[in-house]
Point group: C2
Chain length 269, copies 2
């Protein structure tokens, strides 16, 4: 662990990350000593910082510090947390706020192979995501909605929960982005009012574009999702999981998801 | 500062309060060695913990620890933060999670006298509060909306910002609850979809009931607020601030607000 470049694993109780969730984060896969998709992750980190007017540390600084950690742990999951740093009492950030950067790597606990090969069982969460356009898409530290949604079930056989918004649109998994295939068209929920726009979602959209496969971002209900030819979830740690069961509906074949899974795992960043 | 009863001012970077804003807090006024409205604050803390399924520490434990701090600082602002404690990676809370309790007291920096006597200037924030019934009313650690709203202005002459919801209803200040007086009736926004239901709001509602003054919770637009006979904001640190200016409208007399201000400051808890 490195806190502002110094080994340690504690932060001040006056840190605004703790007090208000005033910060952003990224979770990255480290494999064979390499930080996967680093340029994309850094670009998203920059965008997310900018969206809440948080100064983003330099890419070289973060990359150097991550490399120090990767040397000790060449296989794992890295996490970068950037907070607005120490604050006096009160919500308004000080002009002079110096961000805190927290870098860590933990061992990677592999998921059951069948999640990748056979696909996962997905459940619909009761919690509905609120519309907050000012925070939508950002991977910020205000994650109570995800916590409440993820605490709804306790069955290891259900790998992920699907979150809808208050209007009934399907949005994302508790920790992953959602795609569906509908008559040769790839569809993924619009994340301009809620949800987190992840790096692997961006890669899948680019893959479709490169393949000449139509890909559309929009508002989709649960009925449309259940009628899809294929469903899959992506994130930087799991890669791609096809969905084999959702609300009694089953999918046994995932030809397009397989192709994308292969590409995500082996293509350059 | 006391972290789980031990003097210190650091928490682990694996604390879910930092990682996800997974916790709740209270801000209390300490005056002449007394924690004001302690039973009410503890009751709200219990309710807020229950709302996110967080085990709440015992009243006696918190009260004893606060007293240790109060001995060193008999005038100030105390803060209690309860988080879900250490967590492995992942949003789902462990069944065995042991909450972290963080208690601190900082000196009280008095606000300008005129805020209490003449009233404050209030501004309308651009940020609109999202509707999330599952988190509404709770003083949880996901406070990015308040941070963004409070960062909208930088004029010390404007004491507070008014936040509306996405539907255009007036809800609250960035750090205070809102009341208005309309033809002898006291009105305060419904907080079942967004906002924080504070202890002083509860006291004002009880005051009205004891006085036989009609008091109604509902949805009110900015137009209704601007047409009010009196407007005032309350919280546990500021007490009561009458509003003397909002969007070019001015109020020079606040007879009812004065009465309530006096009562809040001097009545038993």
């Amino acid at each position: 662990m490195l806190i502002n470049g110094v080994p340690g694993d504690y932060v001040s109780i006056h840190d605004r990350g703790l007090l208000y969730g005033d910060g952003v984060f990224r979770t990255l896969r480290v494999s064979a000593g390499k930080i996967l998709c680093w340029p994309r992750h850094f670009r998203k980190l920059q965008q997310d910082c900018a969206a809440i007017k948080l100064p983003c540390p330099e890419a070289a600084l973060l990359s150097d510090e991550l490399q120090q950690l990767v040397k000790q742990q060449p296989e794992g999951v890295a996490k970068i947390v950037i907070t607005r740093g120490l604050g006096a009492r009160g919500y308004a950030p000080a002009e002079s706020a110096v961000p805190t950067r927290i870098l860590s790597i933990t061992p990677f606990t592999p998921y059951p192979d069948e999640f990748h090969t056979q696909g996962i069982r997905l459940r619909v969460c009761d919690l509905r995501l609120a519309h907050q356009p000012r925070l939508a898409g950002i991977k910020h530290l205000n994650r109570l909605e995800n916590v409440l949604a993820a605490s709804e079930w306790n069955d290891a056989g259900i790998a992920e929960g699907l979150m809808l918004d208050a209007a009934g649109n399907v949005i994302e998994g508790t920790r992953s982005n959602l795609f569906m295939l509908h008559g040769g068209e790839l569809l993924t929920p619009d994340l301009s009012r809620c949800g987190v726009a992840g790096v692997q979602r961006e890669r899948v959209i680019e893959w479709a574009s490169a393949q000449g496969m139509p890909c559309r971002t929009g508002q989709f209900g649960l009925d449309e999702l259940l009628a899809a030819d294929e469903i899959f979830m992506v994130n930087s740690v799991i890669g791609l999981w096809p969905v084999r069961e959702l609300q009694g509906h089953t999918w046994s074949q995932h030809p397009v998801a397989r192709q994308i899974q292969e590409w995500l795992n082996h293509a350059p960043d």
